[in-house]
């Protein structure tokens, strides 16, 4: 009976969403901000990737908010899951030689790929969030394979996370000092499509990459250690 009622409620909600969105043409745009970004994005920010120029430059302050949300989630999770060392009873389990060697071989390659994604965030698709997630998946691999289902000291992740968040805010505040508003792009723009271009965008994305990577790796580390 409960299932039938919940199914009917879901159908009603889905019908409401469908009929309210039916009038809106899919994919068509009614705002002119898209044309503005496409016409002026490369000229104003120097970043070949328009998505990056929107995320880090035009909407950089919102990105700071997103990063803060991730930071709070990570801090809250480690506050809930924190357990002192002597309370953990389980012994470390050694992994087999093949697993150990394989994950030691793959770990630097995954780190290299993740750093490539966030360093080239202003040129190719991807950026700090994607690169950070790839780096965190490398740490997940080592936690499962090399460290024998046992995390490391979480202070390392917390220190990296705090320093990179601080770097983001300091880069933004320097913009306030040089250009008059937060996250002003005060470095030279350079030639588009080159690695050293787009002013502060690569610096901000490197900070975000370190921050997201250490946050997600820290969350997994807390989960692994908590039991």
């Amino acid at each position: 009976m409960r299932k039938v009622i919940s199914f009917i409620l879901i159908v009603i909600i889905a019908a409401g969403v469908f009929f309210s969105l039916e009038e809106v043409p899919f994919g068509a745009t009614k705002s002119r901000v898209r044309e503005y970004y496409l016409d002026n994005g490369i000229k104003q920010t120097g970043a070949a990737n328009i998505v990056t120029s929107v995320v880090v430059n035009y909407r950089g302050f919102d990105t700071l908010g997103e990063v803060t949300v991730l930071f709070l989630a990570s801090i809250g999770l480690s506050a809930v899951l924190y357990r002192k060392k002597e309370e953990r009873g389980k012994k470390r389990r050694e992994s087999s030689l093949i697993l150990y060697t394989g994950c030691r071989f793959l770990f630097p390659l995954i780190l290299l790929f993740g750093s490539y994604i966030f360093i080239h965030g202003h040129l190719t698709p991807g950026g700090g969030f994607q690169g950070g997630a790839v780096v965190a998946s490398g740490f997940l691999l080592t936690m499962l394979g090399c460290w024998g289902w046992e995390g490391v000291n979480r202070n390392r992740f917390k220190i990296t996370e705090s320093l990179s968040g601080l770097a983001f805010v300091v880069i933004g505040l320097l913009g306030l000092l040089y250009g008059g508003y937060f996250l002003f792009n005060y470095l030279p723009k350079g030639i588009p499509n080159q690695l050293f271009s787009a002013g502060i965008i690569p610096l901000v994305y490197i900070a975000i990459g370190f921050k997201v990577g250490s946050e997600i790796a820290g969350i997994i580390n807390d989960m692994v250690r908590s039991g």
Partner: protein
């Protein structure tokens, strides 16, 4: 190409329903990760490679891993409504 997308959407729907139906939570988590994986492929077909990258690494890998760690530390099988 459009036929492939339609097939992928239906496979994704099957995975989503399976994630809700399975009583074994490990199977349900793997089905949910499969939905994320197909979503990443669809994002790539829709010319959004950056979103596809985020979906593949977070949705299909890290979320599944976090759920599996949580299942390992709690219970694996869902109980019936009468059972508790």
């Amino acid at each position: 190409m459009i036929i492939l997308e339609i097939i992928l959407v239906f496979v994704m729907l099957v995975g989503a329903v399976a994630a809700g139906v399975f009583k074994d939570l490990l199977n349900a988590v793997i089905a949910a990760g499969f939905v994320s994986f197909i979503a990443a492929i669809l994002f790539y077909f829709l010319h959004a490679p950056d979103v596809a990258m985020a979906e593949a690494s977070i949705g299909a890998a890290l979320t599944v891993a976090i759920f599996i760690i949580a299942i390992k530390k709690t219970k694996r099988f869902e109980e019936d409504e009468k059972g508790n």
